[in-house]
Symmetry: C2
Subunit: 455 residues, 2 copies
Amino acid sequence: MAMKFELTREIVDNLKEAVNNNDETAVFEQIKDLHSADIAELYGGLTLDEAKYVYLLLDSEMAADVLKELEEDNRERFLEALPGEIIAKQFIDKMDSDDAADILGDLSEEKKEEILQNIDDVDQAGEIVDLLGYDEDTAGGLMAKELVKVNENLDVETCIHEIRKQASEVDEVYYVYVVDNNDILKGTISLKRLMLARSNAKVKNIYKPDIISVNTDADSEDVAIIMEKYDIVALPVVDTIGRLMGRITIDDVVDVIKEEAEKDYQMISGITEDVEPSDNVFVLTRARIPWLFIGLIGGILGANVIGIFELEILKDPKLVIFLPLIAAMAGNVGVQSSSIVVQGLANKTIDFDSTWKKLMKEFSIAFIIGITFSILILTYNLLFTHSIQLTLTVSTALFTVILFASIFGTFIPLILNRFKIDPAVATGPFITTMNDILGMFIYLGLSRVLYGLFA
Amino acid sequence: MAMKFELTREIVDNLKEAVNNNDETAVFEQIKDLHSADIAELYGGLTLDEAKYVYLLLDSEMAADVLKELEEDNRERFLEALPGEIIAKQFIDKMDSDDAADILGDLSEEKKEEILQNIDDVDQAGEIVDLLGYDEDTAGGLMAKELVKVNENLDVETCIHEIRKQASEVDEVYYVYVVDNNDILKGTISLKRLMLARSNAKVKNIYKPDIISVNTDADSEDVAIIMEKYDIVALPVVDTIGRLMGRITIDDVVDVIKEEAEKDYQMISGITEDVEPSDNVFVLTRARIPWLFIGLIGGILGANVIGIFELEILKDPKLVIFLPLIAAMAGNVGVQSSSIVVQGLANKTIDFDSTWKKLMKEFSIAFIIGITFSILILTYNLLFTHSIQLTLTVSTALFTVILFASIFGTFIPLILNRFKIDPAVATGPFITTMNDILGMFIYLGLSRVLYGLFA
């Protein structure tokens, strides 16, 4: 029984050594019991030449599986180096249509054509071309064409024959779909149900008619939410008139869920691309520069705001001491508010409150937080700062800033969402920087007023 | 064919009206075709009394399903209000052992006992008690006892009979597990394989022996990673000597994946609890105060750092203008570095680089970013600031600060991880605030040196 495989540097080093000694037997010994996903992972530790050497020792079924599991950039390098005929006949032939379409979708137009022309099975080539026509981020882009379907007019026995015939083409049969003569999806029938039914029963009378399906152009995020909410393992995809076009399996949706979560995480951490610590310096740098640049522009704007209040600062240089505190609190409060909204929108949690009620709620929270921290900093300043003007300014400003940053943080993602812009933008450095600047403006502006009053 | 249901405020209002008119027929009409997950969602818009009214109109199968889908706090309120006997006989009886254990696990000890004593099926009660013994965050805590298993010594025909008998207890049969006489897991056999095999073939000769399984005490995050990596829909769980104890299905793991992603997201956004915009003011406030408090302490420390350099600021008050810019850049760069590491660790991406290589890589990235922004701010200051000392101080400080924040941001999560502390802590306000302070210290410290040199 193969248990979980743990990849260590030792394993990689041993493999590298065997490859460099040109010892085919030793290499084969080390990889023969591994899962395709493990072999794909091993490649991360090999040079392109070493990886190719290992790859050529795999049988073509395994080679196709490894290809699916490889990281995109590694895969592209591999495929661009191989002739289209070999790719078509040895790898694509062994794959489900959705995996084949995903892999082909990443390649250059020429390479794609070259491969498609070399696929022997015209049906498969047609399915791949169909799938390539859908946008990646839709149900059509996620679905596979391989599925098992039976006509509602069959009896159980014929149905089982039919399933046996179709099943040899499909990796995992979760559901058998039931269609009418026009290929319109009517429902499902489980293998369990078929096994329990009398052999002369009609499919029509025993299938489950209540079935959740999505249209080919449904957004992939919505697909994920539906499958998760209703605990669906394989979701049928239909066209506008209800004809069965394909099915989406939960493993593809797990990827969508992870990608969505990672996208939001990147946004809040100020990174513009999906990067891994193992990516190269160029990729990692490129992912980080844009948001930092926006942060820099914000910083320069902030510098100008401070410049406006030069007179106030000259009057009491101690004002400066609390400037970063106010700016940081504004930023933190704003990010908290935005991220709660962003997560709520991502989970499509239904919120029954009206905008007015939302406003009142956020206002209450901000009020409590504002009062709390305002009193804390007041206490600190009463103890350690001997200026009544400064003490009052800092406390009043902190309260005001928390109120503004909360309200902004809550409503900006809601507004972005209404205009179909990814609300997660509101968690990135853009809004944080805005909140910083707003915080400084309020603080120094208040100092002008309060120092005037208590002069 | 039931398509996706879209919950609107109108639907909720109509339902509320029917409930308040005590119009059972109208209420029933509105909910009869809904999925349990939709009814559970509807409850978010109802008062406890309205929800109870609706709940009592459901048949007990549906009531059990709705109960599973309810949010934890809503569910607890419901259950605490109902007698244990009804819960046991009407709801728990209809559930899989893992769902029952999850629900019971959230209740008070007394309530739990009361319910367990009222379960008629001793086997089921025993299974639930077994499951309650596992830590929530382990494979044991995730698994269900319901599964279909056959002895390896059976022939296909007996095996199909056996499966029919067992299958009526199990919702979805993904795999049939094959065990030996000691209940040790040997492999799987798919329904497809059974349907395609001759009826006198022995299970022993046709089952698939390569099977990935986990131990009951495996960490739930590891379970998620394994199921995702190997695209497993149902993962068998075994005890220390390899006996089959249960199975984990992919839908439970989708929840683990989402929770993990949400935990990291909360950490980076400075929130200490899993909150939704629809939670009440108290819960939302409580989730936000702790990290803000840490931010405040950091702000006060920062204020003291600035205080140390009062003399420098008095000499050139313009120094202050760029203070927030330097602090913010330090914070942003630090969060970027940390979050890349945190995501890498969460994905368990294997990194073949040595610590030294990692250091050199992060140093290279920081160097490029540092030089870029240092030159940008130098250009700005050469154009708009007429102090050579200030211009040099700002550029040099920005470069240095970016370097430090990057290295800190990369290594702190790695160190936390080594000490088994959640590395995501390094993305929270604690480290951001540290970076802010470090940034100000470097900036003002450098100003002391450089103003001295160019005096």
